[in-house]
């Protein structure tokens, strides 16, 4: 788990700078009440990060509790169906609680314990981060409160029940459009109020420094394992890696150790919703503009005045107006490319993957699959395409069943 000293000197490890900037993006944009807490968190994290005992403890829990390493799985029938590149799936869906989110929740919970915090708060969209946080809080004995938009509580009802079973208090957020962004606002309000004894486990590579860096680091294990596994299996690196991008944590965690491998193309897939029209999607690189939201400077869907725009995606976990600042930076650099998938494409591929591979993917992860299915056809059979399957779709089956029965079309929400 620990990073060899010489690789720390490579340029990508220089980011963010000490104040949390990835080029012009990132930084710290929060009310004064939180500044000291963020400084303390940064200091505590820097210390833990270079402490072998912390890394050993984290690795232990990642293996024993979360179920790492996750498999790299050849998707034979999907590959055959596309008739192009070999498709591999990095199976983060096999982790305990059902998604990559547990990597970060474990890391931050161990850090909070070191910092002497008693209480944990979190926001959640799809509920996967909330479930992961509830699980680690149960495991380590923290008091846990999860903020969730009322719309998301309805479309992810199963996860609400799971969180409550594990002892978390789930607070319904009725403000704004009642989805992920509003849950983040409410979690930040809680943190401003209870900052002295509470740690906020932010669930994506978003927000003020040190969160984008810290969350990325806790997910880097995905890319590190993937590199070893594909080398063992194929004797070479993949030609392209694809991941969905909400805030951007599973993507950056998976991509990070390939950033300085120029032969590996990296592609993030955003939520195209009902199509790229105002208020109908959550593809920040399609019509978003530079701005500052919830702690960070990055691309944001906003109106000409700077008011944050409504977003839509069939997947609650990608339904968010801002993208993690590190993604904005690597997009500028041309190192990571971005695409989007629409709700309709996602619903089709959700069924395709289930039928051909016996794997029900999360709607979020399915965005990456939509791109991969199209892209594989453009590549040659000896080429390799890896999809980071960030989560499993159990949480989504009720919603998809309702949509397919026509009770709730993605176009009539």
């Amino acid at each position: 788990m620990t990073v060899p000293a010489e690789s720390l000197a490579a340029p990508r490890f220089a980011l963010p700078d000490a104040a949390g900037h990835f080029g012009p993006y990132g930084g710290v944009y929060v009310p004064e009440t939180l500044m000291t807490a963020l400084h303390e968190l940064t200091a505590a994290y820097e210390k833990a990060r270079s402490d072998p005992a912390f890394q050993t403890e984290l690795t232990h829990h990642l293996q024993e509790f979360a179920g790492r390493p996750t498999a790299l799985c050849f998707a034979a029938r999907l590959t055959q169906h596309c008739g192009g590149a070999k498709i591999y799936l990095k199976r983060e869906d096999l982790l305990h609680t059902g998604a990559h989110k547990i990597n970060n929740a474990l890391g931050q919970a161990l850090l909070a314990r070191r910092m002497g915090k008693r209480r944990i708060i979190a926001e959640t969209g799809a509920g996967q981060h909330g479930v992961a946080t509830a699980a680690v809080c149960a495991k380590f004995g923290f008091d846990c409160t999860v903020y969730m938009g009322a719309v998301d509580m309805e479309r992810q009802a199963l996860n609400v029940f799971r969180m409550r079973l594990m002892g978390a208090k789930v607070v319904s957020v009725e403000a704004g459009q009642r989805t992920l962004k509003d849950a983040v606002n409410e979690a930040m309000r809680d943190w401003v109020t209870n900052v002295r004894d509470t740690h906020y486990i932010l669930g994506s590579a978003l927000g003020a420094h040190p969160y984008p860096m810290m969350v990325r680091d806790f997910h880097r294990v995905i890319g590190r394992e993937l590199k070893e596994q594909i080398l063992a299996r194929e004797g070479r690196l993949p030609d392209e890696i694809v991941a969905c991008v909400g805030g951007g944590s599973n993507a950056i965690g998976c991509f990070f150790d390939f950033l300085d491998e120029p032969s590996v193309q990296l592609t993030g897939v955003e939520a195209g919703g009902r199509g790229i029209r105002r208020g109908e999607h959550a593809a920040r690189f399609e019509g978003g503009k530079l701005g500052v939201l919830q702690g960070s400077k990055t691309y944001i869907l906003q109106n000409p005045d700077g008011q944050i725009e409504l977003t839509h995606s069939v997947s609650a976990g990608l339904d968010y107006a801002a993208i993690g600042p590190e993604h904005a930076h690597y997009r500028d650099q041309g190192r990571i490319g971005y695409a989007y998938a629409t709700d309709d494409e996602v619903l089709e591929t959700f069924q395709l993957c289930s039928r051909l591979e016996g794997i029900i993917p999360a709607l979020e992860s399915t965005h990456a699959l939509v791109y991969a299915v199209k892209r594989a056809r453009e590549l040659r059979p000896e080429q390799i395409l890896v999809v980071n399957l960030s989560g499993r779709g159990d949480k989504d089956v009720q919603q998809v069943a309702a949509i397919l029965k026509g009770e709730e079309g993605p176009s009539n929400r």
Binding site: A19, G27, V28, Y29, V30, P31, E32, T33, L34, M35, T36, A37, A175, G176, K181, D182, V184, N185, M188, R189, V192, T193, N194, V195, R196, K289, L290, G291, V292, L293, Q294, G295, K297, I300, Q302, P304, D305, G306, Q307, I308
Partner: protein
Amino acid sequence: MDRIAAAFARARHENRAAFVAYLTAGDPDFDTSLAACRAVLAGGADLLELGVPFSDPLADGPTNQLAAQRALEGGMTAARTGELVRRLRETSDAPIVFYTYYNLVFSNGVENYVRAAKAAGADGLLTLDLPPEEAGELLAACTQHDLKTVFIVAPTTPDSRLPLLCAAATGFVYYVSREGVTGVRDQVAADIPAAVARIRAHTELPVVVGFGLSTPAQVREVARAADGVVVGSALVNVVAAQLADRAGLPGRLQAATAALAAGVRP
């Protein structure tokens, strides 16, 4: 002397703290908001803090969140906020300070925002989610266009940050007397005089105290320690209670302001 400094000097000359009233611009609609602002000034506010409504006010409690939502639903925009200040300037010379979030300042160019605010007649700017560490561009634009800046000091702010915060402020320093979001509280925090003294060691600027004050007695208590006392949610609650009778709002608001502002007058 600029309007902000003049207002504090006048209060000091009268041997009292200044009374700072907060309202959300455009709440619940443009005309009612204009009348409401005029009413708090007539009721005895020395300075008007004007909340520029943002879709995601993460430092605000439910009272101000709902006010911002009403204002945005009522058609408030950046241009209309400027218009509101211009109209207020027709009848008042009281200092006006914008209270807002950085995305609104940033999204169309920081300098454009500052220039427009100054041209409309605003005197100062408080950006809740912009710490001095990230404020270089804003501070330069405010210096260039002579718009005063206000920065917040919190109970969690260590002494080591005070020089930075006090150096960034050019209008006044705002001590928020509690951790948390805006909203009415029952009790005044105990350690206000000590906190104000701590800040004064680093600045000659006025130090105002606010967050959660709602009664004349609380105002009186805080006025003994600070150069200014801010009341926000308690006044916004008056707006919220008059939604069905907007014509009746100015009278109510003027009376409420007068009762609260009596707390700064010996």
